[in-house]
Symmetry: C2
Subunit: 214 residues, 2 copies
DNA sequence: GTCTATAGGTTGATAGAC
DNA sequence: GTCTATCAACCTATAGAC
């Protein structure tokens, strides 16, 4: 590849393996900022600084490219996996919840652009959904995660024993998701705002507080 | 240029103008089942049983058509407006909440296909968002609605006075939204399920119950 | 592995008859 | 108002040189 003049940033900060990754990055960027409907192999190649033929060489066809992009866009999910989510008895519930909601928030922010773009094509969406299924990914994982955390806190006596942790987990994840989704939809001008993350976390903490000896 | 939403008023009862509506219906259907990326003026015309030229005659260009479709797809929002949401003191909180969540659920189910399709194109999304802004529509409206309901219930003594109704409303709407969104994404094969609507409604009702005299 | 050049098909949009 | 016929532009994908 002839990157003679101050070519592709391949310095210390970008250990990019070459053309293949450039194409992936370009596709990811275009997908996020222009949407699926405007994504053409030509534009991807142009943005990546490579020829269009290279796109087909590396990914077979356009669908192959998009699937690869989706997988790349799914990466941030791994950062949501940590088992560090087990609560501690000496921290206020609201603090832990704030951290959790904050982590989910930034995860959604990164994942939504890709997922929403994929959502524009029925076939791609189906392929994507299948991929999620076989990896056992999807929104339910976030709910599971929070559910497990809440159950742990319940055993520590920091959550009302009669509380439905599973449903509560859905409430929490749903709130984060809706906030992210609205931000994604509204772009620059957020319009009327929804309740903040910390406010919501505190509200949940209060609702979940044990009812013993009020 | 043809008017977008207001009817053509062709004659007293406006029974005519079959073509325009056929086009709108066809576009709406195609958008829902195949996504934006696969929506071509040719397919719309074919499905509507009219010529392609008619599409351009009525809507100017493709963007005009899509904007009209979005407006049409936004219609179901009006069904979520009713002020009948004021709670009664003689009904269990869980029952009212189940009704509310159920209504939101079916609203999202109808609105999501269009909104998600629009989401696939950055320009359309921006135009759509602007439209939402000037009409003061969007997710925050649902939150407002539920918030108002909860506040009413609080005044009736059926909800704990210290509860944050605004944040709680976000939790409820978010849960409904996430459930709908997952269903939309996963299609036929829902995969691992999230907590059900009624279960969630009951959980919220329990969390919100007044703490007096336990 | 990457390029240039191009084939073959689709798209959005227009012109003009009726 | 609706149609048929058509165009120029664009798209995906392939062939072949290097």
């Amino acid at each position: 590849m002839p990157d003679l003049l101050g070519g592709p940033k391949r310095g210390p900060g970008r250990p990019s393996e070459g053309v293949r990754d450039s194409i992936l990055d370009a596709a990811l960027a275009l997908l996020s900022e222009s949407g699926l409907a405007r994504l053409t192999t030509r534009q991807v190649a142009s943005r990546a600084g490579v020829s269009e033929a290279s796109v087909f060489y590396h990914f077979g066809d356009k669908v192959g490219l998009l699937q690869a992009v989706v997988l790349a866009g799914l990466e941030p999910l791994k950062q949501l996996e940590p088992a560090t989510l087990t609560g501690a008895a000496d921290r206020p519930l609201a603090d832990s919840l704030s951290e959790i909601t904050s982590a989910m928030d930034s995860f959604f922010d990164r994942a939504l652009p890709v997922v929403e773009a994929i959502n524009g094509d029925a076939d791609l969406r189906a392929a994507f959904a299948e991929r999620l299924l076989e990896r056992d990914l999807g929104p339910h994982r976030g709910v599971q995660l929070v559910d497990r955390y809440l159950t742990g806190m319940k055993e520590l006596g920091m959550v009302e024993t009669t509380a439905d942790t599973h449903a509560t987990a859905l409430l929490i994840v749903g709130a984060c998701f809706l906030r992210s989704w609205q931000r994604h939809l509204m772009g620059n001008d957020p319009g009327p705002e929804l309740p903040g993350l910390t406010e919501t976390a505190h509200a949940v903490a209060q609702l979940l507080a044990p009812r013993t000896a009020d």
